[in-house]
């Protein structure tokens, strides 16, 4: 009996986690998916109404704006972060002095809350007293920079702040990748007469493919979950011009008592993550087997 218990110890230790996981992750996901097929508003009501909430969701102009914003934001955020991160990593990898200090500077925004980032950039981009005033004081009195309050441009302020926060992290990923490359390879390329640019373009960058994939997965994951930055920087405004799906979900589920619509939007977000994650995990597992 005692021996039996002892043999079961590993399972016993895992049990609380397993239960919490199945309830609070898979159970809750099922609950939310289920809810999205009901007409729940203030309180959950379990009468099945099919895809009604999804139809309502996609008929809602605010949701469509949030989706459009998500594409714009994700695309620009990833492309710019990758570009800056890669560039900084390549330059840092060229035996520069004070590398440690520079790395520390590029990466510190990652330690800060998105709410703080939002607050700071909200001030910097302030139409009256921020960058606009700074440039005007320099003599360009006609200079205008009011993206924060411009319906069409507000989403780009979020891109700026997000890139500032996350590109250092991309730099760290690429730097780790570059450090993993065998020095002899670069020497061999030099002996073969390849210029530095060619060496990077034809030999080193192709070897960074897994880092690109990893970084893209992480960045798009950050993009889809982005909530606090928008909340702090623009509050989704002006109007709802800079809403992202996460903000839409929060507003509808908690402020407007539209649980069904909120649940439906959360399910769409989950599908978005799965669409990125499943192919990635699949390719990872396949390369693991090889």
């Amino acid at each position: 009996m005692f021996k039996y218990l002892e043999n079961q110890l590993p399972k016993l230790v895992m049990a609380p986690t397993a239960i919490a996981m199945f309830v609070c992750m898979y159970g809750f996901i099922a609950w939310t998916v289920g809810l999205s097929f009901t007409k729940s508003r203030m309180m959950p009501q379990w009468d099945f109404v099919g895809l009604m909430q999804y139809e309502k969701l996609f008929a809602n102009p605010r949701w469509m704006v949030a989706l459009d914003n998500l594409w714009i934001f994700t695309f620009l955020f990833i492309v710019i972060s990758l570009f800056i991160g890669l560039m900084l990593a390549i330059f840092l990898d060229r035996n520069v002095r004070a590398e440690g200090a520079l790395r520390t500077i590029y990466l510190y925004p990652m330690a800060i809350s998105f709410v703080v980032t939002g607050t700071a950039w909200k001030w910097i981009l302030n139409p009256g007293l921020g960058i606009e005033k700074l440039v005007r004081d320099l003599g360009f009195t006609d200079f205008e920079f009011r993206w924060l309050v411009d319906q069409d441009m507000a989403i780009y302020t979020i891109v700026i702040a997000a890139v500032w926060q996350s590109s250092g992290f991309v730099m760290a990923m690429f730097l780790a990748g570059l450090r993993g490359i065998d020095d002899n390879l670069i020497k061999a390329a030099q002996i073969d007469g390849a210029s530095t640019t060619r060496t990077y373009w034809h030999i080193i960058l192709p070897m960074m493919k897994p880092v690109f994939f990893g970084a893209i997965v992480v960045l798009s994951h950050i993009a889809i979950k982005s909530f606090d930055l928008v909340q702090a920087l623009t509050g989704g405004g002006p109007g709802y011009a800079s809403d992202l799906p996460a903000n839409f979900m929060y507003t509808f589920a908690f402020n407007r008592a539209q649980m069904g619509v909120g649940a439906a939007s959360a399910v769409i977000m989950l599908c978005g993550v799965l669409a990125i994650l499943v192919p990635y995990l699949y390719s990872e597992l396949r390369s693991d087997k090889q």
Partner: protein, 286 residues
């Protein structure tokens, strides 16, 4: 000629690297100088000008008398709320993660790999998809708007990461160590306590820093699951900035933002190496 080129290249590299460093530092600089000016100087001067008189009154106000909605007690109470949430949540999730990682790496049983896969997936789910049912569960347990409830939420969704960290650390240790210890007469917990824990310091540091940063910086769970008396500092900061009672006080906003960022920034400066290690481990593997 080529040495000229080389020098030109080096200059270009340094110019770019330093230029970017200035861009990255600029927001922090702007925050700092703004927080030290008075409101008159902010209106008349510009973003990057140094303050004429260093003035800490904005910091004092941000700490203990600025309005966050209808309350006007500054950030202090919320700072301590965050501390009360972060400490137990970090400790509990780290300890559970260590035990889980130990089991998943060294005491595999039928289905343990499946369990790990299922857990790993939890690192990726957008939390929006669990917000509503978790709110219901907390209400049902009577934990809505409580510190205990928030700690619980952070523990549950933090375990995925802590387990991942410890599992990946322990999986590199040969299982023969466990076998040897079993023959030496040590049981499940004795092996964990006397052999595995003593060699886990680095991964403990990584995990604690990661969890601390994540939970301190959390806004989503804070805004959804906390009540007026239990809000964490991120939520309070957002409220403070968006409260427009009696004109905007940008210097107070900036002081408040720095206060909210200070603990994680300090951790980053002191233990940056471990922070980065957690970041890459959590991101690449997770």
């Amino acid at each position: 000629m080529s040495s000229m080129n080389l020098r030109l290249g080096r200059t270009l590299i340094y110019t770019l690297l330093i230029g970017f460093a200035l861009i990255y530092l600029a927001p922090l600089y702007v925050m700092l100088v703004t927080s030290l000016k008075d409101i008159e100087e902010i209106r008349s001067g510009n973003l990057i000008a140094l303050p004429e008189h260093i003035n800490f009154s904005a910091w004092v106000k941000a700490w203990n008398s600025a309005c966050t909605g209808s309350e006007c007690e500054g950030l202090a109470p919320y700072f301590w709320n965050s501390v009360r949430i972060v400490i137990p949540a970090v400790l509990i999730s780290t300890i559970i993660g260590a035990c889980n990682g130990y089991v998943l790496a060294q005491w595999q049983f039928k289905g343990s790999n499946m369990l790990f896969g299922a857990l790993l997936f939890g690192c990726f789910i957008p939390f929006q998809v669990i917000l509503l049912p978790m709110a219901k569960l907390l209400a049902w347990l009577g934990l809505a708007n409580t510190v205990v409830g928030l700690v619980g939420v952070h523990v549950v969704y933090g375990i995925t990461f802590t387990t991942l960290f410890f599992r990946n650390y322990y999986v590199a240790i040969p299982n023969e160590l466990v076998r040897a210890a079993r023959l030496d007469g040590a049981g499940f917990f004795a092996i964990f306590w006397r052999i595995f824990l003593p060699m886990s310091t680095p991964i403990f540091v990584v995990t604690v820093i990661w969890q601390f940063t994540q939970i301190w910086n959390d806004f989503l769970f804070g805004v959804v699951y906390s009540g007026p008396g239990t809000q964490p500092i991120t939520v309070a900061l957002n409220n403070l900035v968006n409260t427009s009672v009696g004109g905007k006080e940008y210097n107070v906003d900036m002081a408040a933002a720095i206060i909210a960022a200070l603990p994680t920034l300090l951790v980053y400066l002191v233990a940056g190496k471990y922070f980065v290690r957690g970041l890459t481990a959590g991101a690449v593997k997770g």
